[in-house]
Symmetry: C3
Subunit: 134 residues, 3 copies
């Protein structure tokens, strides 16, 4: 954790570099600090995945609408202030990305943060050690 | 909100027009009314996205089974009666779509509605103004 | 239910047979028993879907990192011991699959189990009757 999943209508790919959005959002996550100024997220655990939907229906279907849904799933235990700060930072990144696109076409964007309520949680991986401090 | 995400086994695409299902479910959402008879969902905020899974395993794998999972995420604050009415309406649309397919093949379909418990929620978009009433 | 959804970075496909992972995880689910030794999951209701993300950003982006997120959504009403046993069994299957890959590349894997809190739940399908006991 955290991971951010972007579900979007496939018609965005022609005008939006969604890989760049992934990188921008990951960098935004990596820059977050908690109430004490410490990094919120471990570098090795920060992931953004984006999925174009090949089939979709948006609003009344009368225009070539596009849509992107950004969902960040966070672990429990962070302050509400930290959660809001993360949300505002991601929103700023998303706005900077989508506003030039919205000049040219109709795009809805929703950003939501959920707190995971998992009953089982396990990791297996070999990325974290790269970022371990000696 | 609302948004409805369909996750389905890619082997359905040969026989099912999933884009048409998206449109049918979106139209069903747009037709919903609350306990007072008012529209439940704003047209500009109604989205259905469908994702064929290129890899999957269903049941014992001994037949060419197919599967579709329909998940509607709703915002908080609607009555239980409204939630159930929405569910029944989507189910009727899904049944009309899948029953002719189920004559020819083995397909499991699950429809669930979740109420979002997001701790951060933001929208940026330029679709809603199209539907604003003067 | 249950269904298990795998979201993973598309760069895994070159080295990982994700279809085989789906089958392995489905077989693991089918083998689960509850505290009384009875099968936890009906064969006809066991599904695993895997989605490669064509766009993604992982950690600092300085290496060809890969990531897989395995999320099992369970219905309510099973004991905590059963939930943990299911998680450990899936984790063992995931470890056996990913460890040989992690010898060759950097891969993060997260497995989480959520308990569904759906307010509407309906099934339409013709797979279950195949497994009905006479």
């Amino acid at each position: 954790m955290p991971h951010l999943v972007i579900l979007y209508s496939g018609n965005l790919d022609a005008q939006a570099n969604m890989g760049a959005l992934c990188r921008g959002l990951a960098d935004t996550l990596l820059a977050q600090v908690d109430d004490a100024g410490a990094s919120v997220f471990p570098p090795g655990g920060t992931r953004v995945l984006a999925y174009p939907a090949p089939r979709f229906a948006i609003a009344d279907g009368q225009h070539d609408y596009a849509f992107a849904y950004l969902n960040l799933r966070l672990g429990r235990g962070r302050s509400e202030a930290t959660q809001q700060r993360i949300g505002e930072a991601l929103l700023a990144t998303a706005k900077a990305f989508f506003e030039p696109i919205q000049v040219r076409r109709l795009v809805g964007v929703t950003l939501q943060i959920d707190i995971g309520a998992e009953v089982f949680d396990a990791k297996i991986g070999n990325i974290h050690p790269l970022f371990a401090k000696d």
